[in-house]
């Protein structure tokens, strides 16, 4: 047991995170200015650098390829129209993520809310003394060593996709920015316009909600 619970500090990736949202360079400034004048080659370079990230985030929030495509179009139009006035107080990548987040959340407004569920039913419950409550077999179910082919089966994947769909969109935004785009809590907070504490809470609750739904499916066989 002792070897299982030794605490090692997981590897951090500050260099990678730092590179992702570097501050505005002369090159970025020049590209934004050229794109604003209708220079297609400058826009091509910006698209090559940022379109994949824009789509991943837009899809992650909207969960719709069609909506994500429209968001990507609007993001690059905003880059063309507003990029020349971008003052560069934040990194260009951070600004683009922020535009993408806002447009994606706007796109979602009023849509598919029926799919989203309260997270409260998916969070751990506790006894008055702070220890976990619930059926013991469920509490100790550890499916993390389930063979990969089962974890990646169509049914597991479907359950996970549905669980992500059911997360409130603000939670999905944080989940994608942090876990997919590998940004720091500080960077995510800056992009979504919230406090670091709120970002950490939302991320943790989102992961716990997904874990709960996977455990209900995978835990039975663990």
């Amino acid at each position: 047991m002792a070897s299982l619970v030794s605490i090692r500090t997981p590897r951090r990736l500050p260099e990678i995170r730092g590179c992702r949202l570097r501050s505005l360079s002369t090159d970025d400034r020049s590209l934004l200015a050229r794109a604003a004048t209708g220079d297609a080659s400058a826009l091509e370079i910006l698209m090559t650098r940022y379109s994949a990230r824009v789509f991943r985030l837009a899809y992650g929030i909207t969960r719709s390829a069609a909506d994500a495509e429209e968001v990507a179009q609007d993001v690059f139009l905003q880059i063309v129209h507003k990029g020349a006035g971008f003052e560069g107080r934040a990194a260009l990548g951070s600004w683009i993520y922020r535009i993408t987040t806002n447009l994606s959340l706007n796109k979602r407004r009023g849509k598919r809310r029926e799919l989203e569920t309260s997270l409260d039913d998916l969070l751990p419950t506790y006894l008055p003394d702070g220890h976990r409550a619930g059926d013991r077999a469920f509490l100790v179910a550890d499916w993390s060593r389930t063979p990969e082919h089962e974890l990646l089966s169509d049914e597991s994947r479907r359950i996970l996709e549905a669980a992500i769909d059911r997360l409130p969109e603000h939670y999905r935004a944080v989940l994608v920015l942090k876990d997919v785009e590998e940004l720091s809590n500080e960077e995510v907070a800056q992009i979504v316009g919230d406090t670091i504490a709120a970002v950490k809470t939302r991320l943790h609750r989102a992961r716990m909600a997904l874990r709960e739904q996977l455990t209900r499916y995978l835990g039975a066989g663990a």
């Binding site: 299982l4 997981p10 994949a52 994500a68 993390s144 874990r211």
Partner: protein
């Protein structure tokens, strides 16, 4: 440390931002709490699976459409 307190700090643990004294408390709790040990393992695996599932790349034909759309809009300006 209770289960509630242990689960509250799991994100910091995975981030590597946990102060050493809290890490030591967590280790002591996990050594005696099978449910929290299982929770940590499945929480970590969930993050891994969730990252894979949430990472959806832009299809190539969409990249072509986006490029065409933007070039057309630039020309129209």
């Amino acid at each position: 440390m209770t289960c509630r307190e242990a689960i509250d700090v799991l994100a910091d643990y995975l981030d590597g931002t946990m102060p050493p004294d809290v890490a030591a408390e967590l280790a002591r709790h996990l050594a005696e709490c099978a449910p929290c040990l299982a929770y940590l393992a499945t929480y970590r695996k969930t993050r891994e699976l969730g990252t894979t599932a949430a990472r959806v790349e832009m299809p190539e034909e969409m990249q072509v459409r986006l490029r065409r759309f933007l070039i057309d809009r630039l020309r129209a300006v």
